[in-house]
Every structure is written in structure tokens, then in C-alpha cells.
């Protein structure tokens, strides 16, 4: 299988084995997802490092793009990586939601670390700007940067942890209302209320008032 060292390869250094290795790794993720879907809890533990690596690669590719200061589409990053895999027959809807929730958590960590890294800021000269899906932020306001969002979400978690998780899943994972509700074991109405309140709360927090 592919090792973690693959992350450090610059594209021109990739060997011709790259494609083969990548396929093997994808196959491994698929098998683990299926095993987990069939009730093998240990498969999830093996899956997480692979998912972390995949998402890290997706984020790196994205950030290496021509315009690194442009708006992030985190949902697209996760979906691009796993959309095909999540179609596998034996992953139930509940497991799919839980899996996306885990992806959301990992993606939040990866992107926030990236946003804070001095190397990125030095190269791009800009912070990574974010825009929530479903229009959390108004076009007339400057988009806040990702590090600021993470800090505000940590504060929100201290006030109400569930609301912070709702934002994490919906924004970083692209989970729908029903999927988020299923992971948190609450009603869809509760998720909608949490989402509405949390968006407002975060916007205020990021504007520097509270």
C-alpha cells in the first residue's frame, strides 16, 4: 500500500507507480468502508488515517491552485474525494452520514492548520477566505478568514457544543439537515434552529462584537 511519505512528493518526483499505488489505496478505503458498513467497528479506526491522508492531499491540491486566496468550497473538496466511494452499496445511509461527519472534522483541522501555517501566508500573501454554504455571510461584508472562523467555532463550542458540531458538519462536511440530525440524534427542526442561531452567533463573533 501507499505510505504516508507520498504526501511529501512534489508532483515531478512522482514515479510511474503513483497511479497504481493510488488505486490500491482507493481500493483499501472502499473495502474498509464496506467492512464498517457491515458492522466492523475496527475498520473505522483503520479508515481514519487513510481518510486524513486523502483529505490532506485534496486540500493541498486545492491550495496549490492558481488563486489560493479565493473562496474555499470545502463541501466540494470532501465530495470530490469520496463521492464515488460513498455510492458503494454496502455503506448504509447512517454510516454515510457518520463518515461525512468524520471527514468534516478532519477537514476543519487540516484547513485551519493550513490557514495558520506561515508558509502559506508568506506564499499567497493572503488569508484563506471562507464563505458558508447557504449564504452565511453577506456579499457586502468581507469574507472572514478561516483561522477566525475556527476561533469563533471554538468559542461557540464552549457555549453550546452541539451547535458548533452542526456548523462543522454542514459547512466543512456538506451534510444536509437530515444527515446532520441523524448523526446528532436530534430532530431536523433542531438542526435548522441550531444552524440559524449558530450562523448569526458566529457572524457576530467574527465581526468582533459580542
Amino acid at each position: 500500500m501507499e505510505t504516508g511519505r507520498g504526501l511529501c512528493y512534489a508532483p515531478r518526483q512522482r514515479s510511474s507507480h503513483w497511479g497504481v499505488l493510488k488505486m490500491a489505496a482507493t481500493h483499501e478505503v472502499t473495502s474498509l468502508l464496506q467492512a464498517w458498513g457491515e458492522g466492523d467497528e475496527a475498520a473505522l479506526e483503520k479508515l481514519i488515517p487513510l481518510v486524513y491522508r486523502d483529505l490532506h492531499q485534496a486540500a493541498r491540491r486545492y491550495m496549490a491552485g492558481e488563486n489560493p486566496g479565493h473562496l474555499l468550497q470545502t463541501t466540494a473538496l470532501i465530495h470530490e474525494t469520496y463521492l464515488r466511494l460513498l455510492g458503494v452499496e454496502k455503506v448504509s445511509w447512517q454510516n454515510r452520514s457518520h463518515f461525512l461527519a468524520i471527514c468534516a472534522q478532519l477537514m476543519r483541522r487540516i484547513l485551519t492548520d493550513y490557514a495558520r501555517s506561515r508558509r502559506f501566508q508568506k506564499r499567497s500573501g493572503k488569508a484563506i477566505r471562507v464563505k458558508f454554504d447557504e449564504g452565511l455571510l453577506v456579499p457586502s461584508q468581507p469574507d472572514p478568514d478561516l483561522a477566525l472562523l475556527d476561533a469563533a467555532m471554538k468559542k461557540l463550542a464552549m457555549v453550546d457544543e452541539r451547535k458548533s458540531r452542526v456548523v462543522e458538519m454542514r459547512f466543512f462536511g456538506g451534510l444536509g439537515v437530515e444527515e446532520t440530525a441523524s448523526v446528532l440524534n436530534v430532530s431536523p427542526e433542531t438542526v435548522m434552529r441550531d444552524w440559524k442561531y449558530a450562523k448569526t452567533w458566529l457572524l457576530r463573533e467574527m465581526s468582533g462584537e459580542s
Binding site: L137, V138, V159, K196, Y197, K199, T200, W201, L203, E209
Partner: protein, 54 residues
Amino acid sequence: MIEPERQRRAEELFHSALRVPASERATFLRNACADAEIREEVESLLAYESAASQ
């Protein structure tokens, strides 16, 4: 940061106030809540709500 019990009350009032026309919210809050700190919290959030929901 206000304590959890009052935070919950503020959240309930936030959602209730959103069902009242914007022009009547101040009156609604004065009638619905005697606690000035909670009222201020709700009013402060409501000021950001229209921006957040656009």
C-alpha cells in the same frame, strides 16, 4: 458570556422574535422579557440575523 440558563432563554427569544415583524420586535422583547441582559443579547444577535440569512 452569559450563563447557560439565560443563554437558553435568549435563544428561545431569538427564535420567537424572528416570527414577529421586524418593526415590532423591540416591543415584543420588552413585553416578553424583563431581564435587560437577556434582552440585550437577543437584540444584539437580531442585528446580525438579517445579514446571516441573506
